[in-house]
Each structure stands twice: as structure tokens, then as C-alpha cells.
Symmetry: C2
Subunit: 120 residues, 2 copies
Amino acid sequence: MDENEKLELCESECIHEDIVRFVQAKLQPAGDYEELANLLKLFGDPTRVKLLHALEQHEMCVCDLAALLGVTKSAVSHQLKLLRMSNLVKSRRKGQNVFYNLADDHVRQIIDKGFEHLWE
Amino acid sequence: MDENEKLELCESECIHEDIVRFVQAKLQPAGDYEELANLLKLFGDPTRVKLLHALEQHEMCVCDLAALLGVTKSAVSHQLKLLRMSNLVKSRRKGQNVFYNLADDHVRQIIDKGFEHLWE
DNA sequence: TTAATAGTTGAACAACTGCTCAACTACTCA
DNA sequence: TGAGTAGTTGAGCAGTTGTTCAACTATTAA
């Protein structure tokens, strides 16, 4: 179903067609919102967002993070895997430890904007 | 259980205590991460993030959004309620229509950072 | 006042998510 | 090599979430 069909099939009749078409033209392809949601979803869990904020402060190994967050190493490792798959964190092994770091500065920026919204 | 107890009770023994305490001191109170996660969670659904990105382009009524997203007015209204409760959107009634707008610029900034991360 | 359209709400359900547990691999040191 | 610690993984589950449906309220126009 293309975008025009969606407009026609809609249950409603109050649609401001000119505006809807204007906005439609500015939106990204549907798949982009899927990807974006899958990325931003990772910030939507208290454990994960605390974990990310912690890694903003200093690189840490899985044990450190588990202690800091008060959850098992397994739980941390599961979350880190998701974050790694979305390129939010990167890891480096040093002996028995695997140290985790933020992959780039976007994490910090998103978390900062979130806190700004809450605090302002 | 305070933060020191968490450290002591942890199953692991490899903890880098100095680093963990250093990071601990920089973290926010636990409740802040709950709030932050509840906020950012709203960006973690394709329908909602598309809706927000659409409102970035122009204010729209519920019918317009339903047509644009290809979902029912009910679904849109449920989502808008969540977004309103978190001060991400605001509404104004004009006759039979209720027009929705972004409440401030944080939405745009968070979505932009998300797309940046995906595209860079 | 009545009919019509816009929008909201609560219940119910299917799909998803984050945790724990147990079993596994990886590395180190004696 | 073998024991010990760090980390990963998959299954299973309890709790959560996004949608639809049906019933409701709000506003307008005749």
C-alpha cells in the first residue's frame, strides 16, 4: 500500500490533505523509523541507560558494571551485547577482563538532551 | 541497600574498586535513570518516533496523523497521550480538531542525534 | 435538539523484553 | 595440564507494551 492509498483508506474524513502531503514529502522511508526506534529503544531501560551513563565516566569491565548496577554479570553481558550490536559501545579484552567503552559521542549527546528535557 | 553494600555483595571479585567508586560518585540518583528511561522509551517505537518526526515538520490533528501513519485514530490518540504526559507534545483545540505540536526542541535534537548515529 | 464528525478512554490480547539460571568458552597462573 | 576467575550464551518466565474494539465525550451545523 503506498502513501496515497493510506490517505484514501483512512477511516477519517477531516484530513488536511495539503498538510499531510507536505509532511509526507519530508519524512524518511519507513525502514528508517524502524531502525531509529530500534536504536533509541536501547535508551529506554533504566539499567541500560545507567550503564551507558556510567561508561560515559570511565571504561569498565563487566564485573565493575555488575557491581555498580547491582545486577548479575549475565544481565550486564546481555545488555552489552545489544549495545555492541548497535555500535553504542565497543569492547577490548585485556587479559581476563573485557573493558567496555562508549563507541562514539552520540550516546552522551542523547542522554544529555534527555536529562535537559527532564530538568528544564 | 546502599551502594557500598552492592559492591560487597556482588558475586564477582575482579572489581576495580577505585574506578567503580569514582564512577559511582558521578552518577545521578537511581530515580533519575528511571525517569530518563521512561522518557527515552517514548522514542523507541517506530509509530511514535515517526509521529514525532512528522510533528517536527508541521502541526497536525489526530486524523492527519492517523492517515499519515496508516493506523487508527485510537492508536494515535493513545500514543499522543503518552507523549503529552511526558511534555514532548502539546495540543490546542480548534473547533472539532485538536492540533498537536512538539512541546520543545529536545525531540528534534534527540531524533537528529539518533539519525546521525545511524548514518555516520 | 439532533445528527454527524473528532477525539479519548479502558479492557483485552498478542507480541516483546529483561531478568535469572545453568551451561558453556576464554584467559591466566601455578 | 588443570583449577579458578571473567565473560558469554540460550532457554524460560514474569512483566510490559502497542494495537484493536467498543463505548464514551466534545464540538459543530442544521
